[in-house]
C-alpha cells in the first residue's frame, strides 16, 4: 500500500482528539467517513478537507488528510478554489446547518448549478452548537433557544429540497445513528462526478434537547425501494413532504449526465487557442 493509504478506517484518524461533547452526532460521521476512506483506498496526500466554523466544522482536524478550517460560511468558496487550482485532488467540504445554510447559504446554489466537482457534507443538528445554542435555519418553529426566548419565529429550511432545486447532481440524506448506511453513501457521493451533497442528521445533545437521537430514530426510514433517483421533481416532493412524520435516508437523486464545471472549463480551453505571448501583445501594438 502506498504511503497515505490505509487499510482500516481508524488509521485515517489524526492525532487530534475530537473537541465534540460525548454523544455528539458528529462522531457518527467521523467513523463512517474514515471507513469510507478505507473502503475507497483514498490517499490522504491527495485529499483536501475544507470546512467553515462551528462544532461540525472542526471535522477536518480529526483526519490525517490536508485540511483547511476557514471562516464561518465560506467553506464551499474555498473548496472550489482548491479543486479548480488542482483538479487532481479529492475535495470534500464540511459544515453545519448554520455555516452552510445561514451565513453560507448564498454560495450553495452556485456550487450546485456549476456542478462543481466536489462533495459537500452538512452536519445538521438544527442548532448553533459552537456558539452555544441559538436558533439555526433548521430549528423547529416555536423552539426556545437563547436568541428566541419566546420561541423560534422562522419556518425551517429544507436542505435537501434546496440543493435539489439548485441543481446538485447527487443528493443523499444520512443519519448519525446509522453510520453503516452513511459509510456507503459517502463512498457513492465521493465517487460521483460533479457536485454531491449529503445531509447528515447529526443531533446535538448539549444544546438541542428536542431533536434527539431517539426522536430521530423513530422518524428515520430508508427511502422506498421504488424511489426513482432520476426524477428530480419527485425527489423534491419527497424532501418537502413532512406529512408522514417520516425522514428518509438514502440517495434522493443522482444525475450522471450533466457536465461538471471542470468538464466545461476543459471544453473552453480547447476553443481558447494556444498561448503565444507575442500574439497577445500584437493586439496592443498600434
Amino acid at each position: 500500500m502506498a504511503t497515505g493509504i490505509y487499510a482500516k478506517g481508524k488509521e485515517y484518524k489524526s492525532e487530534v482528539p475530537p473537541t465534540w461533547c460525548a454523544g455528539c452526532g458528529d462522531y457518527g460521521l467521523l467513523n463512517a467517513f474514515m471507513n469510507s476512506l478505507a473502503d475507497q483506498q483514498i490517499n490522504v496526500n491527495n485529499t483536501a478537507l475544507i470546512s467553515g466554523i462551528g462544532c461540525s466544522s472542526r471535522f477536518p482536524f480529526f483526519i490525517k488528510a490536508y485540511g483547511f478550517h476557514g471562516v464561518h460560511g465560506r467553506a464551499l468558496t474555498i473548496a472550489s478554489g482548491v479543486k479548480l487550482a488542482n483538479p487532481e485532488l479529492e475535495v470534500v467540504a464540511f459544515g453545519g446547518d448554520g455555516d452552510g445554510f445561514a451565513i453560507g447559504g448564498g454560495h450553495v446554489p452556485h456550487m450546485c448549478r456549476k456542478n462543481m466537482d466536489m462533495t459537500y457534507i452538512v452536519m445538521d443538528n438544527s442548532i448553533y452548537g459552537l456558539t452555544k445554542g441559538q436558533m439555526s435555519p433548521t430549528t423547529t418553529p416555536g423552539m426556545k433557544t437563547s436568541t428566541t426566548p419566546y420561541g423560534a419565529p422562522d419556518n425551517p429550511i429544507n436542505p435537501l429540497a434546496f440543493v435539489l432545486t439548485y441543481g446538485a447532481t447527487f443528493v443523499a440524506q444520512a443519519f448519525s445513528g446509522n453510520p453503516k448506511q452513511m459509510r456507503g453513501l459517502i463512498t457513492q457521493a465521493m465517487k460521483h462526478r460533479g457536485f454531491s451533497y449529503i445531509n447528515v442528521i447529526s443531533p446535538c445533545p448539549t444544546f438541542n434537547k428536542q431533536d434527539t437521537f431517539d426522536s430521530y430514530k423513530e422518524m428515520f426510514e430508508d427511502l422506498p425501494e421504488d424511489h426513482d433517483t432520476s426524477d428530480k421533481p419527485g425527489a423534491i416532493a419527497k424532501a418537502l413532504d413532512r406529512t408522514s412524520g417520516k425522514l428518509y435516508s438514502g440517495v434522493y437523486y443522482e444525475d450522471k449526465e450533466t457536465p461538471t464545471f471542470l468538464d466545461r472549463i476543459a471544453e473552453q480551453r480547447k476553443t481558447a487557442g494556444a498561448f503565444d505571448f507575442q500574439k497577445i501583445l500584437d493586439i496592443y501594438r498600434p
Binding site: 496526500n45 475544507i50 482536524f61 478550517h69 468558496t77 478554489g81 487550482a85
Partner: protein, 580 residues
C-alpha cells in the same frame, strides 16, 4: 502648460454617441504615428444618458499625467460645451457643430481669444452621408486634417476594427472621414493652426493599453494561474482580459456569485498551490476584509487588485478618487499586517502586478495592489514588456532533506516557514484561521499568539528591500519634498518639472510600496528637505495620516481635493511654489 510638443484634444458628449470608440481610434492612430499617448475617459454611472468625455493627449515626449486641461475641445452636445468651455484659454480651439447640431453660425460664448472652427458634423453625417451615427467619424477626419494626424493610420485602424463587419462598414467610415477632411480643406484652409503634431519614427516596440488590461498582462507574466472575480466598475476589464488570455496558458478564471466567494476561492486556490488573484473595487474590497485576515492568518500568498473609485458606499462608481488606502492598510478585524502597493501609470500596472505576486509568494501573505478608475480606463503607450526577462518568485517549499520535521508554521530566522501543498507526500497538515501552534493546531495561549503576531508583522517588515519599492527625485537646495501615491504620482512628476522649469527647487518621493512604508529610503529622502507636501485625491489625506504616524519631525502639508477628478499638474506646481 506641459511640453511644447503636447497636443491634448478633449471630446465630450452624451454617453453612447460613439465618443469612446472614436477616441480610441484617434489615440491608436497617434500611437501608430510614433507619438506618446495618454488618454483620459469619464463615463456616466448610468447606462443611458449622462455626460461622457474622452481626452487624448499626444506628445513626442513621455507623458506623465492627464495634464493641465486641453487645447482642443470638441463638443457633441450642450452639456459638453457647458462643462468644458470655461477651461479653454486664449489660443485654444473649439470645434463647433452648432447648438445641438444646429446652425453652426449660431456661435456659443467662448472665453476671450479662443479660436472657433466650425464643423457641422451632425449635418454632414445626417444630410450629406445619411448616417447620423457616423458623426464621430466625420469629426475624426476633420481632426486629422486640422492637427496633422496621419489619416492613413486612422484608415488602417478603422480597417482592422471594422473589417470583420464587412467592407460596407469600412467604406462608410472612410467616407465619413473624408467628409470631415474635405470640410476642413474647404473651409479652414490657410487658417494658421496653432497646434499640430509631427509623426515620428519609433524604434521601440511600443504598445498602447489600458491600466486594467495591463494588470491582466502583469498577472499573466507573473505566472498567475487562478483568477476569481465578481464584476464591478471600474475593475471588470481586468476580468475580461484574464478570461480571454489566462486560459490559453492553462489558467482558470471563474466568475463567482459575489466578492466573498471570489476571495474565498482565491484563498483555496492558493492553499492548493496556485498563484491566485482577484480584481475588484472598493465595495468588493470591503466585503473581502474578513477573508483577507484569514489569508494573513494561514499565510496564503495571494493578490487583490483594487481599482479605486469615488466612495463611500456605491458613491461615484465612475469617478476618480484615491480613498481606499485606509481600508487597504487598516481594514479587517484584529491587528494584522498586509503588503500594499500603488501604481502610478499603465506600465506600472504591469510591473507592480508582477511584484505583487512575487512579494506574495516570497512572504507568503496577501498583497493588495491599488490602482484607480482613471488609471484603469486610460490608455497609454509604453514599451512592450519582455516575458522572458521577468523574474518570477515562487514560495519556499518544504524540503524534507534540509528542513527537518514538517511544521507549516515553523518559527524561522526570517519568519518565513517552508510550506507544502496538497498532493505532496507526507506533509498533510491543517491550516486554520484560529490562532495556532507551529503545526497548525489551534492554540490560544499567550505564547503562540504573541510569537505569531510578531512573526506576521516581522516577516514583511523589510519588504522595501525586496524590489525597487520607491523612487527619490532629489534636487539640491530644495526645501519641500512632494510625496504621494497612486496615479497622483504622475501629476506630481509633471508638477515637479513645471516647478523646476519655473525655477522653484523641489524634490519628490514616489513610493510604489505604501505599506509597510519604505522608511529606509524615505528617511534618506527626508534628510534633504525641510517639509513635505502630500497631495491626495481624498478628504482626510490618508497617506499623509500614515506618514504622520512615522513621527518624521518635519512639517507635513496636506493638499486634498475630492471632487471626483484627478489633480492637474499646475495645481500642484502652484502649491509647491506656495509652500516652498
Amino acid at each position: 502648460m506641459g511640453h511644447k510638443s503636447d497636443l491634448c484634444i478633449r471630446i465630450g458628449g452624451e454617453g453612447g454617441e460613439g465618443i469612446i470608440s472614436s477616441g480610441d481610434i484617434l489615440a491608436q492612430a497617434a500611437a501608430k504615428a510614433g507619438l506618446e499617448v495618454l488618454t483620459f475617459k469619464t463615463f456616466p454611472a448610468e447606462i443611458r444618458g449622462g455626460y461622457a468625455m474622452y481626452q487624448i493627449r499626444m506628445s513626442s515626449e513621455k507623458i506623465l499625467s492627464e495634464g493641465d486641461g486641453f487645447q482642443v475641445l470638441v463638443v457633441f452636445n450642450k452639456e459638453a460645451l457647458d462643462n468644458n468651455i470655461n477651461k479653454l484659454k486664449a489660443g485654444n480651439v473649439l470645434i463647433w457643430d452648432g447648438p445641438e447640431g444646429g446652425d453652426i453660425n449660431e456661435l456659443p460664448e467662448v472665453p476671450e481669444g479662443v479660436i472657433v472652427y466650425n464643423l457641422p458634423m451632425s449635418k454632414l453625417a445626417k444630410v450629406d452621408l445619411g448616417v447620423y451615427r457616423s458623426k464621430n467619424m466625420v469629426c475624426m477626419g476633420a481632426l486629422s486634417e486640422l492637427f496633422n494626424i496621419p489619416v492613413d493610420r486612422l484608415k488602417e485602424i478603422i480597417n482592422n476594427r471594422f473589417g470583420k463587419k464587412g467592407q460596407d462598414i469600412v467604406d462608410l467610415n472612410y467616407k465619413a472621414l473624408q467628409l470631415g477632411i474635405d470640410y476642413v480643406k474647404e473651409n479652414h484652409q490657410g487658417i494658421s493652426n496653432p497646434y499640430n503634431v509631427v509623426a515620428q519614427e519609433q524604434n521601440k516596440d511600443v504598445i498602447i493599453m489600458s491600466g486594467n488590461d495591463a494588470v491582466g498582462l502583469g498577472a499573466l507574466m507573473a505566472g498567475c494561474n487562478f483568477f476569481a472575480c465578481y464584476p464591478i466598475t471600474p475593475a471588470t476589464e481586468i476580468a475580461y482580459w484574464v478570461a480571454k488570455h489566462l486560459v490559453k496558458k492553462g489558467g482558470t478564471v471563474v466568475q463567482t456569485e459575489d466578492e466573498i466567494s471570489s476571495i474565498g476561492a482565491v484563498v483555496g486556490a492558493s492553499f492548493a498551490g496556485a498563484k491566485a488573484m482577484t480584481g475588484t473595487s472598493g465595495p468588493g474590497l470591503s466585503l473581502m476584509t474578513e477573508i483577507l485576515g484569514l489569508g494573513v492568518m494561514v499565510e496564503a500568498p495571494l493578490v487583490i487588485c483594487d481599482v479605486q473609485r469615488g466612495g463611500p458606499s456605491t458613491g461615484l462608481p465612475t469617478k476618480h478618487e484615491q480613498s481606499d488606502l485606509f481600508l487597504a492598510c487598516y481594514g479587517g478585524h484584529g491587528d494584522f499586517p498586509r503588503i500594499v502597493l500603488s501604481a502610478e501609470n499603465v506600465a506600472d500596472c504591469v510591473d507592480l502586478t508582477i511584484h505583487a505576486f512575487n512579494l506574495a509568494e516570497h512572504y507568503q501573505t496577501p498583497v493588495i495592489l491599488l490602482t484607480d478608475g482613471s488609471l484603469g480606463f486610460r490608455t497609454e503607450t509604453f514599451e512592450a514588456p519582455d516575458i522572458n526577462k521577468v523574474k518570477v518568485v515562487n514560495r519556499k517549499m518544504y524540503n524534507p532533506d534540509t528542513d527537518g520535521e514538517f511544521l507549516r508554521y515553523k518559527f524561522t530566522e526570517d519568519n518565513i516557514s517552508p510550506t507544502a501543498i496538497p498532493g505532496m507526500e507526507g506533509c498533510a497538515h491543517m491550516q486554520t484561521g484560529l490562532e495556532h501552534n507551529e503545526k497548525g493546531s489551534p492554540n490560544y495561549g499567550p505564547v503562540f499568539h504573541t510569537k505569531n503576531t510578531e512573526k506576521r508583522f516581522n516577516k514583511i517588515a523589510n519588504a522595501e528591500d525586496f524590489f525597487e519599492s520607491s523612487h527619490s527625485d532629489i534636487e539640491e537646495g530644495a526645501t519641500v519634498g512632494v510625496v504621494t501615491w497612486g496615479s497622483t504620482q504622475g501629476s506630481v512628476r509633471e508638477a515637479v518639472q513645471q516647478a523646476r522649469e519655473a525655477g522653484v527647487k523641489v524634490s519628490a518621493f514616489y513610493p510604489k510600496l505604501v505599506w509597510p512604508f519604505p522608511m529606509k529610503a524615505f528617511n534618506e529622502f527626508l534628510k534633504t528637505v525641510d517639509k513635505i507636501l502630500v497631495p491626495e485625491v481624498n478628504y482626510q489625506g490618508q497617506l499623509a495620516e500614515i506618514i504622520k504616524t512615522k513621527e518624521i519631525g518635519k512639517e507635513i502639508i496636506k493638499y486634498n481635493i475630492y471632487g471626483g477628478l484627478p489633480f492637474e499638474p499646475q495645481e500642484i506646481a502652484k502649491k509647491i511654489k506656495e509652500v516652498q
